[in-house]
């Protein structure tokens, strides 16, 4: 009833091209934003902020990165963990070498560095595709983690191989990195930063370059015939995707955990992000957020469910059951809706437009 677009006329090209063309959507988004900025830090405890909201935002950024590559450009990648490690260690070295550099600039530069690495490992995509490419990206995953683990230079010769984020302020007096930061400040910083980057990504995929990615994904030969250069399209997708994933890795090390070792970015991390993209929806920015929320929340729910139900289950068994339920849910989701949560949301919106009438 409330969700009607009748009577909303678009009188300019700008209005026609807007991301949220329907007024109700804009109002809902505004309310959502207000809740996210004011209500969440006010009511959520530090524990919730640190274990749910902060990792959710970091993962959402990584998922956006992978979604650009896999969802929009159709290049399957299993190297996400390696690229996140790149971002984490690049930003660490930068932050240590240039202490006066602002932390946001450090993150962006680390992202740029990761983009370079991504292009390098994206080169095989010019010759191969599909599963062959997926295995090729595994090379990036294993090589990068090995490199950061093996060479002491990356960790400034820390004996344990763990890097600790140096304390940095985003604005004078507002520390966001490591243990010195207040969770609410961290959360707000991430919220703004990730939202801005997501907005950039949304506009990127709607623009000429995003359309060329999608053309390559849908049919590379046809794309080439209509004048899209596969080399540029694929390598730019690798670059932009790695840029986002690198920043996510930097945020992981600096804002979320505070101290991190290369082994935190093992292949499991790659799969985790891939699951977010698949469950959220391939080729959807909103889906990246939904998928990240799902994957972050699910283990927490699974862990607390037996205790809440009062079932005496050993910790070990719980983690095994968690694996089983996780695997089962993935299969279930793929069978029920292979296009992910974003598609479910879209269906719900379409139903809502007609409600309460059937058609």
């Amino acid at each position: 009833m409330l969700y009607r677009e009748a009577g909303q006329f678009k009188t300019s090209y700008g209005a026609d091209q807007s991301i949220f063309p329907i007024r109700q959507d804009r109002i809902a988004l505004l309310l959502f934003g207000l809740v996210a900025v004011f209500a969440v830090p006010a009511f959520a405890s530090n524990y919730f902020l640190e274990t749910i909201f902060v990792p959710f935002l970091v993962f959402a950024l990584a998922a956006i990165g992978l979604n650009i590559l896999t969802g929009y450009c159709g290049q399957l990648s299993l190297g996400t963990g390696g690229f996140m490690a790149c971002g984490a260690f690049f930003s660490y070295k930068l932050a240590i070498a240039f202490p006066e550099l602002h932390v946001v600039i450090v993150f962006l530069l680390a992202g740029l560095g990761t983009a370079g690495v991504g292009v390098l490992f994206g080169l095989p995509s010019l010759r191969i595709k599909g599963f062959y490419l997926a295995v090729a990206t595994l090379a990036a995953q294993f090589f990068l983690v090995w490199m950061f683990n093996k060479f002491g230079w990356w960790t400034n010769y820390s004996p344990s191989g763990v890097i600790s984020a140096p304390p940095r302020d985003v604005l004078p007096g507002f520390a966001v990195t490591g243990s010195s930061g207040d969770p609410a400040i961290k959360y707000l910083f991430l919220l703004v930063f990730v939202t801005l980057l997501a907005l950039v990504a949304k506009n990127l995929v709607r623009s000429r370059i995003g359309r060329s990615w999608m053309a390559i994904r849908d049919m590379d030969i046809a794309a080439e015939i209509i004048g899209i250069r596969p080399l540029w399209a694929k390598l730019s997708a690798f670059a932009v995707s790695s840029f986002y994933i690198g920043i996510a890795g930097a945020l992981w090390a600096f804002v979320y955990t505070g101290s991190v070792e290369a082994l935190a970015f093992q292949i499991d991390r790659s799969f985790q992000v891939l699951f977010m993209v698949i469950i959220g929806g391939l080729g959807s920015i909103l889906g990246s957020f939904l998928g990240a929320a799902f994957i972050v929340l699910l283990p927490i729910l699974l862990n607390s469910a037996p205790a809440a139900l009062g079932l005496p289950i050993k910790v070990e068994t719980v983690s095994h059951l968690e694996f089983m339920i996780f695997g089962g849910l993935i299969i279930f989701f793929l069978i029920v809706e292979p296009h992910g949560l974003a598609r479910l949301w879209q269906i719900a919106k379409e139903k809502l437009r007609l409600w309460p009438f059937p058609y």
Binding site: L76, I128, A139, L334, I335, P338
Partner: protein, 338 residues
């Protein structure tokens, strides 16, 4: 002389040549850099150890190839099938069954798993894009991992079916001290060879094998001559499950049955790239190359960069290889411009 024998001749010539060239190159490197160590006897020893290790990679890769050929599905769960099969077998042995009986029971369990996978996962996902099926097999991977460990516990288990593990020394007339070969690896190689031979006979001479080859060639043509695709898929997954069981027994008695078995599946991926996704001989040769290559690289080149290059060497080898021959050594050439 027909084409096959010519090709065989080329292989017989080029393989020792390649080994000699690599050996010479390493000798040159060792002469230039004092931190490296090289003797021909040691080189051969490492090479043979690597080849025998490669046989085990091939065993895992075989399971991948079988399923990929028959259904075009890249079965990521092969590794967890290896783990699950080995855990089941150990579980039954611990119940007091003789290992031959336990093998039969574990094989039966793998057939049940295959049928369930076909019914629950594959059938509803028919006609979906390959990436979706690939993701579904990752789901199976997680599920089987958790299921196996919930059933049988997650401790490292010893699997001993009486394979000799004594070191042997061969060729001690030619090289000083002889070449050390592990008897266990030799047995593993023999089992691998026997398994491949059995599979070849199965595919070549039985009715089901013919149907399997028909499905691998062309799904629709196979359907149109009345081959039941779903039954064939269940059979292929069962065969892959039994191959996984054999691989699991070999790896399990070598390194103990533990969670890390599931991860050796990842090592089978570069093997597949090298050999081609659709070729059984490719899986064998690829496994041998990867096994030998990573051992030799680790021992003779590892010290240059601080060691542990085993983790990624296989992938890098595969990556470089892909740039020159994207379809693998024996894979079907798909003519496709990218």
């Amino acid at each position: 002389m027909n084409a096959a024998t010519t090709r065989f001749g080329i292989w017989m010539l080029s393989v020792p040549l390649a080994i000699a060239v690599i050996g010479l190159g390493l000798q040159g490197l060792a002469a230039a850099d004092s931190s490296l160590f090289f003797t021909w006897g040691y080189f051969l020893e490492v090479l043979i150890a690597g080849l025998l290790q490669g046989v085990l990679y091939s065993l895992v890769a075989l399971g991948f190839v079988l399923i990929f050929k028959a259904s075009g599905i890249f079965n990521f769960a092969q590794g967890s099938m290896v783990l699950f099969a080995a855990l089941t077998m150990v579980g039954f042995i611990e119940m007091g069954l003789h290992w031959t009986l336990a093998f039969v029971v574990a094989a039966a369990v793998m057939v049940v798993v295959a049928v369930v996978v076909e019914k629950v996962v594959l059938r509803p996902l028919v006609n979906q894009p390959h990436i979706i099926l690939f993701m579904a097999t990752i789901g199976i991977f997680y599920f089987l991992d958790g299921f196996g460990q919930t059933l049988w516990g997650s401790d490292v288990k010893v699997l001993d079916i009486g394979i000799p593990k004594d070191p042997l020394f061969i060729l001690d007339g030619i090289f000083e001290g002889g070449i050390l070969v592990n008897a266990f690896d030799l047995v593993a190689a023999l089992v691998g060879a026997a398994l491949v031979a059995a599979l070849a006979v199965f595919f070549q001479y039985t009715r089901i094998g013919r149907a399997l080859r028909a499905v691998a060639d062309d799904h629709q043509a196979a359907l149109s001559v009345g081959i039941p695709l779903k039954t064939i898929w269940a059979i292929v997954w069962s065969v892959a499950g039994i191959v996984a069981l054999v691989a699991g027994i070999m790896w399990g008695s070598k390194a103990g049955v533990q969670f890390s078995l599931a991860l050796i599946a990842l090592k089978a991926l570069p093997v597949l790239i090298l050999g081609g996704f659709t070729s059984i001989p490719g899986a064998i040769v690829g496994g041998l190359i990867i096994g030998a290559g990573e051992q030799v690289a680790e021992v003779f080149l590892g010290p240059l960069v601080g060691g542990a290059i085993q983790d990624w060497f296989a992938y890098m080898l595969a990556l470089v290889f892909l740039l020159f021959r994207p379809q693998g050594l024996f894979g079907e050439r798909i003519i496709e411009r990218i």
